[in-house]
């Protein structure tokens, strides 16, 4: 559906044959293309604007090597800036307390329950942890059962209270249980909620207060559109979360929400979900994400070779 950015830039630079330098004039049209590519990828409108301003500053006056087309140089500048914004080295989850507590948060259907299972599985098998999963979604039909089934698949016990409607109390009881049974890690799944739902946001703030978690993760669907920034901002204001989890990246979404969220809340993206199965979990790669947002494959390595 979308034309790849490098093709677009090639086209707009065709009009400027013979230019040896990137100038204010020849960059204007190109920046428009960059901006459109970002908007097509669901990068937030304001973030896209800011981003193209930064790119313009970096691009102006750069000498174009004879071996590299100006469009390629532009793509590299755009790509590197994207990767820089989303990057820094991947940051692991920090687990200090005993038991350490990780709390999930996010909108309905974003992938919290699935990710809770995946994370328990990863930390168990790769870091030798002994996790306890906790079912604090008391609303969604069969939410507890869903976590229980996942726990069974990965051999991790699930703490739940079938008759309780009080997630704060369930969470506190779970930590007690973890202590008693020697679990060094507690992963708390919560119900999906809208950022504008005051009552539900109060609830998760209360869970945070009661547990004082080592890590709070914001789980977000990578297909999310322009509203990703508002949602992330509001969850961050209430929870001051430690990191972001981007799910469903096995789809074909360009995933501009990653850039938007990173720019607006300045919290690292820690994990990406790449499937429904319990092992479909990866750490975040800013370079790959930059390529993806721009809708391109290997143009960058091509420029680097030139």
């Amino acid at each position: 559906m979308f034309e790849n950015l490098s093709e677009r830039l090639d086209r707009s630079f065709k009009l400027l044959k013979g230019e040896g330098k990137i100038t204010e004039i020849n960059v204007a049209e190109t920046l428009k293309d960059v901006r459109k590519a970002l908007l097509d990828a669901d990068v937030n409108y304001k973030v896209a604007k800011q981003f193209t301003d930064t790119v313009k500053e970096k691009a102006l006056g750069q000498n174009v090597l004879t071996s590299v087309k100006p469009s390629q140089l532009m793509v590299k500048i755009v790509h590197d800036e994207l990767a820089r914004l989303m990057g820094g080295t991947a940051i692991d989850v920090e687990l200090k307390s005993s038991p350490a507590v990780i709390l999930m948060s996010g909108l309905q259907g974003s992938g919290k329950t699935t990710f809770s299972g995946k994370l328990a599985n990863m930390l168990k098998s790769k870091k030798g942890k002994n996790p306890l999963l906790v079912a604090c979604d008391v609303y969604r039909p069969a939410a507890i059962e869903q976590l229980r089934v996942l726990g069974e698949q990965i051999g991790v016990p699930v703490y739940s209270e079938i008759d309780s409607k009080n997630p704060v109390q369930i969470a506190l009881n779970a930590v007690k249980e973890a202590r008693a049974k020697g679990h060094d890690l507690v992963i708390v799944d919560t119900a999906g909620r809208l950022a504008i739902d005051e009552q539900m946001m109060n609830e998760i703030a209360a869970i945070k207060k009661a547990l004082n978690p080592d890590e709070i993760l914001f789980v977000v669907d990578s297909m999310t559109g322009q509203d990703a920034v508002n949602t992330a901002k509001e969850f961050n204001e209430r929870l001051d979360f430690n990191g972001v989890v981007l799910t469903k990246l096995d789809g074909d979404t360009r995933g501009g929400a990653a850039l938007s969220i990173r720019s607006v809340v300045d919290k690292p993206i820690k994990f990406v979900g790449t499937g429904e199965k319990m092992d479909a979990l990866d750490i975040f790669h800013p370079e790959r994400m930059a390529d993806r947002i721009l809708g391109m494959g290997d143009i960058v390595s091509l420029v680097e070779r030139a």
């Binding site: 669901d42 992938g111 504008i196 297909m223 559109g225 096995d250």
Partner: protein
């Protein structure tokens, strides 16, 4: 309490203190539309239509702009959409009326089915649900709970069994029990997974062995907070299963709904239902006029 900022309030803010439509107003309008997920192409289309009207009319102030914008959005919604659906009804000559529900992961398929079952039952119909998501953890239990909540029958097999076989069973039971409506739940699947898309075709075809013209309705569920990927979803699911109705969910979130405009501009598939919450009653039949009114805060 839940509040949301509609497109109108955003536009009002964008054009505050101006009396004439100039480039700045149009820029602000562009921002409003794009940040509502209308999409770049549809936004540019709306803007250029407005530019044309501004050029032909001698003077347009910003109050008039709102009226024009309203007009343009309403016409975009009608151009590719067929008639609005009248309430929660099914055609009398199709019994049972079979609805197959499809979509990517987590958009709200199962919940929408629960809400639809509630509405059809309330309208006096005998409803059967088929739990053909045999893959996702506790998907069957989730539908069973909805069935209990609403008071309708759910046909199921055990986890991991063939979804086509569940659909077949459901139609058989529905026919044997003289049901009016059958709704088949399917597992969420991303549209770029060819095997999973082929599975949908198989489920669809199996139904014809029981009810020759089933499924009558293939309802694609889209999450209202999804961005531009919604277009690819609509395209791929339509290619695989001949989608003929859309449901847009989670519109109780913030200033959304723009995706409805973009989708209507690109596809000739009517938006039939909108989801506005997690409760049984939080589903509405989509009415273009009301939708446009709600965008403009009336």
């Amino acid at each position: 309490s839940k509040t949301k900022e509609n497109v109108f309030t955003k536009i009002a803010r964008a054009i505050a203190g101006k009396s004439k439509v100039d480039d700045e107003v149009l820029d602000n309008l562009e921002e409003v539309l794009i940040t509502s997920d209308v999409g770049v192409d549809t936004t540019l289309k709306i803007i250029s239509r407005i530019e044309k009207r501004v050029a032909s009319d001698k003077f347009v102030n910003t109050q008039e702009l709102t009226a024009i914008l309203r007009d343009e959005i309403a016409s975009l919604l009608t151009e590719n959409n067929t008639e609005d659906t009248e309430g929660f009804t099914t055609p009398d000559d199709k019994k049972p009326y079979v609805i197959m529900v499809v979509g990517v992961n987590g958009v709200g398929k199962t919940t929408t089915i629960g809400k639809l079952a509630y509405q059809f039952k309330k309208a006096g119909k005998k409803v059967y649900l088929g739990a053909a998501d045999t893959f996702r953890a506790a998907a069957v239990e989730q539908l069973v709970i909805w069935g209990e909540r609403v008071g309708v029958s759910v046909i199921k097999q055990k986890m991991g069994s063939d979804p086509a076989s569940v659909a077949y069973d459901t139609l058989n039971s529905a026919v044997a029990n003289d049901a009016d409506v059958v709704i088949i739940d399917t597992a969420g699947r991303l549209h770029n997974k060819i095997n999973l898309m082929n599975e949908l075709t198989k489920i669809k075809n199996v139904m014809k062995k029981v009810v020759p013209d089933a499924p009558h309705e293939i309802l694609l569920v889209l999450d209202g907070s999804t961005g531009q990927n919604a277009f690819e979803q609509a395209k791929q699911f339509t290619a695989a299963t001949e989608v003929n109705a859309l449901a847009i969910t989670k519109l109780d979130g913030t200033a959304k709904g723009g995706v409805v405009i973009g989708i209507s501009d690109h596809f000739r598939i009517p938006v039939k239902y909108i989801g506005l919450g997690e409760g049984m009653e939080d589903l509405q039949v989509f009415q273009r006029k009301e939708f446009v009114n709600s965008l403009f805060g009336e």
